[in-house]
């Protein structure tokens, strides 16, 4: 595993967060925790390296350069559609004593705070690289509201976090509270270095939703499949929701691979599972997970969002990139797979369905 490459992969979290940041600023989505996250990241991310100059500069520009309307709309449908599925899942199991959401490659996602404040039977798990986890932990513990949402109890006795690289290295990396578990896991080592017991507090026998938002795409196909297989093998009633780019059968994917490689980002899955059909076979044939639903983001946008809401977002910004947003949305998809007698049936329609 290449530390330099991993660092670039970690940096994609800033892209995801800044995209959401501007989508919030433009009123596409609502996120009361956004500013806490962004301010925290700006302050703490530079300490994660002993050469912090370029980090600060990139961060500054990421949150200062507004996104084009097409990007805002794509970010909207990404965030909104995942929220819709999570919400239905939690609503379906709200009478259960406990239900779990496991976010893999969680980055600076604020979804745990939103849903933990709404569902008292929810246990939330977030996994990412150790650097990302330490930052998120520090941001949460520095903030009263977030600390209280995750039911952190020793508020008067918070360990000192970090204000330089040395302190950052020494900072403890786990946060376990009654409803929230944040810990460092290199996902590629699931089933290898880590077994199910390494995922502390995770209960394999209760309804669980695994979320992977733009995470598996950065891994080799075998590693990514191993992650899915690990959860499939170890959790008994579970569903996995993935948001992933797909290369397509036009030239879009090749150009994307080329463009992102200039930033050092590789997307080994993009052309490997480049169409909805290939993703479909990946699950049904390679992973042997039969209960499966897939849709591209054009389908999701056109079928999941009601007329009033669509009208609202269409009027937030003037958009000249109509064909581009269709092209982009065609190259991203949602995959919902499940196993065990979960019987989770979201009302939203998908394009490809298999039971």
């Amino acid at each position: 595993m290449n530390a330099r490459k991993d660092k670039v992969i970690r940096s994609t979290d800033v892209d995801a967060l800044s995209s959401r940041y501007f989508a919030v600023k433009k009123d596409y989505i609502d996120d009361p925790y956004m500013d806490i996250m962004v301010d925290g990241l700006k302050e703490l991310l530079p300490f994660t390296s002993n050469i912090n100059f370029s980090i600060s500069r990139n961060l500054k520009s990421a949150f200062e350069t507004p996104k084009l309307p097409a990007i805002n709309r794509g970010t909207y449908i990404r965030t909104k559609s995942i929220d819709l599925v999570v919400e239905q899942f939690l609503r379906k199991f709200k009478e259960e004593p406990e239900v779990q959401v496991v976010s893999i490659g969680a980055g600076s996602d604020t979804r745990p705070f939103k849903f933990l404040s709404l569902y008292s039977n929810l246990k939330y798990f977030e996994y990412d690289f150790v650097e990302s986890v330490k930052i998120k932990k520090a941001i949460i513990l520095r903030n009263k509201e977030l600390s209280s949402i995750v039911k952190f109890q020793n508020l008067n006795d918070v360990e000192k976090d970090f204000s330089n690289y040395q302190e950052f290295l020494r900072y403890d990396e786990n946060l376990f509270t009654p409803n929230y578990n944040l810990c460092p896991i290199d996902l590629r080592l699931l089933g290898d270095k880590y077994n199910i017991n390494s995922l502390q507090n995770l209960n394999p026998n209760i309804p669980t939703l695994i979320l992977g938002e733009c995470v598996l795409c950065y891994m080799e196909p075998a590693d990514a499949n191993q992650v899915i297989k690990f959860f499939h093998d170890n959790l008994n009633k579970s569903s996995i929701l993935l948001y992933e780019p797909i290369g397509g059968d036009d030239n879009f994917g090749n150009v994307m691979v080329k463009n992102l490689s200039s930033r050092g980002i590789s997307l080994p899955n993009l052309m490997h599972y480049n169409t909805l059909e290939k993703q479909f076979e990946r699950f049904t044939k390679e992973l042997k997970i039969e209960n499966l639903q897939i849709a591209d983001m054009n389908f999701v946008l056109n079928n999941w969002i009601d007329g009033d809401e669509l009208n609202r977002i269409n009027h937030l910004e003037f958009l000249d990139e109509v064909e581009e947003i269709v092209l982009m949305n065609k190259h991203y998809c949602l995959i919902l797979a499940q196993w065990g007698d979960l019987n989770f049936k979201p009302i939203q329609k998908f394009q490809l369905v298999h039971e």
Binding site: T12, D15, A16, S18, S19, A62, T65, K67, L68, P69, I71, G74, T75, R78, C214, P245, D250, N251, F252, G253, N254, V255, M256, K258, N259, L260, S262, R263, I265, N314, H315, F318, L319, D320, V322, E323, E324, L327, M328, Y332
Partner: protein
């Protein structure tokens, strides 16, 4: 006195052109454009090009494939600027050719030739970055207001086989005959509605029964019926327009009565599409030349904003 050859040379290499030269260039071209009618009358043969969007290197590829002016006569359907990294150079190059060969190079206005749109989609920022002030942008915007709104291509025969109507976007419910366009007072910023706006903003759409609202927030969607009616009434054999990205570079619809031509390959250095230009000969035969993005334009890749994808 302006040294046009030198400016053309500099622009092709993306060298800095003095602000004063740009001012002079813009004033000169305005004198030419002001004499042109809203709908320019152009004889065949002609090569029609769609959106360029600041992709200078791809424009140079186009010229090397379809031959540089004046050897080939060109009509550019607008959207010279925005999105690409070399909007200014692209626009200046076209202006230079217009001044040098006013009867061999024709430019009409696209929806991006507007003050409002260029402040969102890059041209304004590019000028500011390259010149430290908005002056150059302002001079160019003055030129935008003088650009014609469309063109009518004819082979000069008075026979019944009709000509080609060219416009950036498409039709307007307020306009049934080309003659009506002649009365528009075009010397203004592109309005948010009305016929001038529609010509620059509308899109054809297959399988719609009548005029419909455009998802772009300006202009309309029109279908085969509207297109056929307009062609019949104005004795046209083709409407040629640009405005919409088509992955194959060109796309004929409505039984060949309308074509979209797109001349920016790998649009925004991201879309992976092919580009095309359309040559119409004296018998109104159509020949499409398609081309891909030159790899040397990959030089610009280092500047690509990562945010052009969802990561």
């Amino acid at each position: 006195m302006l040294d046009l050859d030198k400016i053309i040379d500099d622009v092709k290499k993306c060298n800095h052109v003095p602000e004063n030269d740009i001012l002079e260039l813009c004033l000169l071209v305005q004198e030419i454009l002001i004499e042109e009618p809203n709908i320019q009358l152009i004889d065949t043969p002609i090569t029609v090009c769609g959106d360029i969007h600041g992709q200078l290197h791809d424009l140079l590829t186009l010229f090397s494939i379809a031959k540089y002016p004046p050897e080939t006569k060109y009509l550019f359907l607008g959207d010279f600027v925005d999105r690409g990294f070399y909007s200014l150079e692209t626009f200046l190059l076209l202006l230079c050719y217009k001044i040098r060969y006013p009867d061999r190079v024709f430019l009409i206005r696209g929806n991006h030739e507007s003050r409002q749109i260029t402040t969102v989609y890059g041209f304004y920022d590019e000028c500011l970055r390259k010149y430290g002030s908005a002056n150059v942008w302002r001079y160019c915007c003055e030129v935008f207001d003088y650009l014609a709104l469309g063109a009518y291509i004819t082979n000069g025969s008075s026979g019944g086989d009709g000509g080609v109507f060219c416009v950036h976007g498409g039709l307007s419910p307020d306009i049934t005959s080309i003659d009506q366009i002649k009365y528009i007072d075009r010397k203004q910023e592109v309005p948010h509605e009305g016929s001038m706006c529609d010509l620059l903003w509308s899109d054809p759409e297959e399988n719609i029964p009548a005029w419909a609202v455009s998802p772009r927030g300006a202009g309309f969607l029109f279908g085969q019926n509207e297109t056929e009616r307009f062609c019949y009434k104005n004795n046209l054999n083709l409407i040629a327009r640009a405005h919409q990205l088509v992955m194959e570079g060109y796309k004929e619809v409505f039984d060949g009565s309308l074509v979209t031509v797109w001349s920016a390959p790998n649009y925004c250095y991201r879309c992976g599409n092919i580009a095309a230009c359309l040559t119409i000969d004296d018998d109104y035969n159509r020949t499409y030349q398609v081309f891909e993005s030159d790899d040397s334009s990959m030089v610009v890749q280092s500047k690509i904003l990562p945010n052009d994808y969802f990561l």
